[in-house]
Symmetry: C2
Subunit: 183 residues, 2 copies
């Protein structure tokens, strides 16, 4: 494993309500010095949840995305609140966004969004043995829940509205995992 | 398809060398008004490339990521320069980062990074029929090139250093596509 670069300095260079930009000076093992800008995150991170209605059916949500300015079809996700456990956050998010809780929750792995310039990490959680339970969310309009069969991922990939990399990565990881469990 | 919310106002609320934060006021079809912050992008977008050395071998790169502050194993990627074609950008990036050009380049689909608050879209490009050619890049230290077999994706998913969602999504999409081509 390579030696990590040394941090020479670090300062906040921009800030908004949601975002914080930090400029970091690094010295690499070969002596070269570089300055990078990065977006820092709240320490608690985020969750993305794959809620399984049965062994082949995952619940997606269709929601307006202010970043890409279109409706996006993706897995439910959200921030982990300060002091909240990752699995508890996953269960809360699916209660708010798809109207189910899960009796079985399993942290699968972490996903990064843009490791080159974002600190942000998202925990992927598999949620099984669902039961109906709804918690109020903070969405401006009701979220549409779209069941999708994991055996039909190809058709989903043909939909432009399913573009979010974390959701796509998660769906394939979960599908392969379930296929392995079944054999 | 749902009716998109109406944009009430839009203003820049923070700016750094790399990032631009915009606050947007939206009125949803049900009359509810909300303000969102979003990161805007350069219009040209980005590319992520899956360079295939043979039908089962993809070339990954190991590079220091200033966002997550660790070395990450991922597919080569980069910005599309203003006026540059997506496929030309993909070919340039692999010449800079893995030391190969490709005679066959195919745009597969777009991936979004965080559609809720980032405008950013990345074009996934499959690169085949490679030939050795190196262009100078702007990396502070030599990039390590790591060939990986698509038939061994499970082992890659067990590596913490391969965390980037776009790379993981791309690897599964490409693997499934090649499996389909082969049958």
């Amino acid at each position: 494993m390579r030696k990590k670069p040394e941090t020479l300095h670090r300062r906040e260079t921009a800030r908004s309500r949601l975002f914080r930009v930090e400029t970091v000076g690094l010295r690499f093992a070969n002596g070269i010095e570089v300055e990078y800008e990065r977006l820092t995150s709240s320490t608690s991170g985020a969750v993305i949840v794959a809620p399984l209605l049965d062994d082949d059916t995952v619940l997606l949500i269709r929601e307006y995305a202010a970043g890409t300015e279109r409706y996006e079809l993706a897995l439910p996700k959200g921030r982990v609140e300060p002091g909240e456990d990752v699995l508890a956050a996953a269960n809360r998010e699916i209660k708010e966004e798809v109207g189910y809780g899960a009796r079985e929750l399993q942290a699968i792995r972490q996903l990064s969004v843009a490791p080159g310039y974002m600190q942000h990490l998202t925990h992927l959680v598999l949620a099984r043995d669902l039961y109906p339970e709804r918690l109020p969310g903070d969405e401006p309009e009701p979220i549409e829940v779209v069941p999708w069969r994991l055996s039909h991922l190809d058709e989903l990939m043909a939909q432009e509205e399913c573009s979010e990399a974390r959701s796509i990565a998660a769906l394939y990881i979960i599908r392969d995992r379930l296929q392995k469990e079944a054999t």
